[in-house]
């Protein structure tokens, strides 16, 4: 496997004053399912369009499989794109849409037919050959777009929010299907989404973007457990931010005064220096435990009162006020539902290993 299949070297793209992509460098591995994740307007689509050749960078270089493609037009690049709105040609039917990209490959008729047949069965569209775009459902159009790109056997498949237009259930199905498809054909996928669950559940690695820059590039579980900064921690999943201040360092741990709860010795993964006053402790709702009795075997166990609950079926969220903490905490529990605490009085327990220290910038 080529570790540097796609190399993005210090790429910037400016539209007038807007720095849509701001000095980004990424290396993507061969066969990887790589996601670009970020809020609206962060530059995901622009980066993808730079890879496809629809935009040319203001600065920087782009290599695919060792070849510099920075100046190549889209039709000369070994990439294909699945567009956000699918861009199925409305004036030709499904099979002609799929054959569209084969014309310039110089294959024999038999090879063409075989490829079309293969890809049709791959995306399960047999029997839809004669249909036109307006006779297809959203999910089917999505498959046509996928088939049309895959039939060319690109080195890299670029997907711009391909599931965005589908309803939730179909989207969940397609996520699994797309993931399996990618594993079975082994083509490198670069997948753009603003949906963090989608990115986390599908990808080998995720680059979280904001304002044209990469905030963090890691495997999904790393993103969730060990966010590099407040933006990532806030964007991926749900979390509680408690204010704090660092004191003395102890090797890879550090003393932190959290709210007015006192001092705790916490992992200092990001190597924050001692006596920093603008510290945020991120604690996931499901990492905390809610109970009737005090939990003496937990590092921290605090009396609390429940302000509000919301029931989600697989879990319940409790919004609790804790003595010594200025804000309402969100705690989620699969064990208790909202019937369990009639009185509103309870205990909230926290493990020190679940506290992620972050610096306010």
């Amino acid at each position: 496997m080529n570790e540097k299949y796609i190399e993005v070297r210090n790429i910037s793209k400016h539209f007038g004053k807007v720095k849509a992509v701001d000095d980004i460098s990424i290396e993507i591995k061969e066969g990887e399912f790589f996601s670009l994740l970020g809020p609206s307007g962060c530059g995901k689509t622009t980066l993808l369009r730079l890879l496809a050749g629809f935009e040319y960078p203001t600065k920087g270089d782009l290599l695919i499989d060792g070849i510099d493609v920075t100046a190549l037009p889209p039709n000369k690049r070994p990439t294909n794109m699945v567009f956000q709105n699918y861009a199925i040609f409305p004036h030709i039917n499904v099979v002609k849409n799929i054959q569209f990209g084969l014309r310039k490959l110089g294959l024999t008729k038999a090879e063409n037919d075989q490829r079309v047949e293969e890809v049709l069965s791959l995306v399960k569209l047999e029997g839809y050959e004669e249909r036109y775009s307006n006779q297809l459902s959203g999910g089917q159009r999505q498959r046509v777009a996928l088939a049309r790109a895959l039939v060319r056997r690109p080195k890299v498949l670029l997907l711009d929010e391909p599931l965005g237009a589908l309803d939730k259930k179909l989207r969940d199905e397609m996520q699994l299907e797309l993931r399996n498809l990618q594993k079975s054909i082994g083509i490198t996928f670069v997948f753009v989404t603003h949906d963090q669950e989608e990115a986390i559940s599908m990808s080998d690695r995720v680059a979280v973007m904001n304002e044209g820059k990469i905030q963090q590039l890691s495997q999904p579980n790393e993103l969730y457990k060990n966010p590099n900064n407040i933006f990532v921690s806030d964007f991926i999943g749900e979390t509680n931010f408690l204010n704090g201040k660092t004191n003395e360092k102890h090797g890879d741990k550090i003393d932190v005064a959290i709210e007015s709860l006192g001092n705790f010795k916490v992992d200092n993964r990001l190597n924050i220096s001692a006596n920093t006053s603008d510290i945020v402790c991120s604690i996931r709702p499901e990492a905390m435990m809610i109970s009737r009795e005090v939990q003496s075997d937990w590092d921290i166990s605090l009396p609390a009162s429940i302000k509000q609950t919301s029931y989600y079926g697989e879990m319940t969220r409790f919004y609790v006020e804790v003595k010594g903490i200025d804000q309402v905490l969100t705690v989620s529990s699969q064990h208790f539902d909202n019937q369990s605490f009639q009185t509103g009085e309870c205990f909230v327990s926290i493990g020190l290993e679940d506290i992620a220290l972050l610096e306010k910038k």
Binding site: F54, M81, A87, P90, R148
Partner: protein, 266 residues
């Protein structure tokens, strides 16, 4: 509520009556068995139509108008298509100004256009005739054609062209395989309306055509002789019907494209 709707309805009916009654007098009198355009009607006849068929100058004028109309509408549509493409795709410095410049002949009084063309044409040492008429018509039709095509191309999803590039086609192939077929209803509408505008145009033809009359000029010439009025009425009636048909066809084509476009969107 009801009251208001009724008054609007009355207004609408009057509006259409006002608009179309005068026009409908032409066909009405063209079937009237008399040489004068006056009431009471004196009987039904096809005589004026039959007389018209026997006149070769009508057909010569018709042929002239068709030739000029076809050339003017094709050339205008080609120019308009290129312009529309440029204006919708690129925002360049001065694009608004040049957009306005293309539309200007549409707003300048025709007579001024005609006079300026005649001055230039003669001072260049050319003779009047159908060539300057055609050029004048191209100038005059292009803004109409461009407005039709701009509205067509604006509703067009540019990611289709990108998809074509992405799938290996170069710019030229993309135009012929993707853009052109999708613009086609607009292009046909532009050709039809361009043709009608040229076909109906009188002032430019009057100033520039020299000795070869177009159909509107032929009619104008005939009007000088009171006896020939009924032929003009018959001819006018036919032109009204044909024009209405072509305009409806063009309108239908434009809407056809638009309606489909909506289906294409997700």
């Amino acid at each position: 509520m009801e009251q208001k709707n009724n008054s609007l309805l009355v207004y609408t009916i009057f509006y259409f009556l006002f608009l179309y009654i005068p026009v409908l007098f032409l066909p009405l009198f063209s079937f009237n068995d008399s040489n004068y355009m006056s009431f009471p009607l004196s009987g039904f006849t096809f005589r004026h139509y039959e007389d018209m068929w026997s006149k070769t100058p009508v057909f010569r004028a018709l042929w002239v108008s068709v030739k000029v109309g076809v050339i003017a509408s094709v050339v205008s549509t080609v120019i308009a298509l290129m312009a529309a493409k440029a204006f919708t795709k690129y925002k360049f410095i001065g694009s608004r100004v040049s957009y306005a410049a293309v539309l200007l002949p549409f707003l300048i009084p025709e007579i001024i256009l005609a006079v300026s063309l005649i001055v230039i044409w003669l001072s260049l040492g050319f003779k009047l005739g159908l060539v300057p008429v055609t050029i004048g018509h191209i100038l005059f039709c292009t803004p109409f054609c461009m407005l039709i095509l701009v509205s067509r191309i604006e509703g067009f999803d540019s990611s289709l062209e990108e998809a074509s590039r992405d799938l290996g086609e170069n710019a030229w192939g993309t135009f012929w395989k993707v853009s052109f077929p999708l613009y086609l209803p607009g292009i046909i509408a532009s050709l039809l309306l361009g043709f009608i505008i040229s076909f109906d145009e009188f002032i430019l033809a009057f100033f520039l055509s020299g000795s070869d009359p177009t159909l509107p000029m032929y009619m104008w010439n005939q009007l000088r002789f009171i006896k020939k009025l009924p032929h003009v009425l018959a001819l006018g009636a036919i032109i009204i019907v044909a024009t209405t048909f072509v305009v409806l066809l063009a309108y239908w084509l434009m809407n056809l494209g638009q309606a489909k476009e909506k289906d294409f969107k997700i």
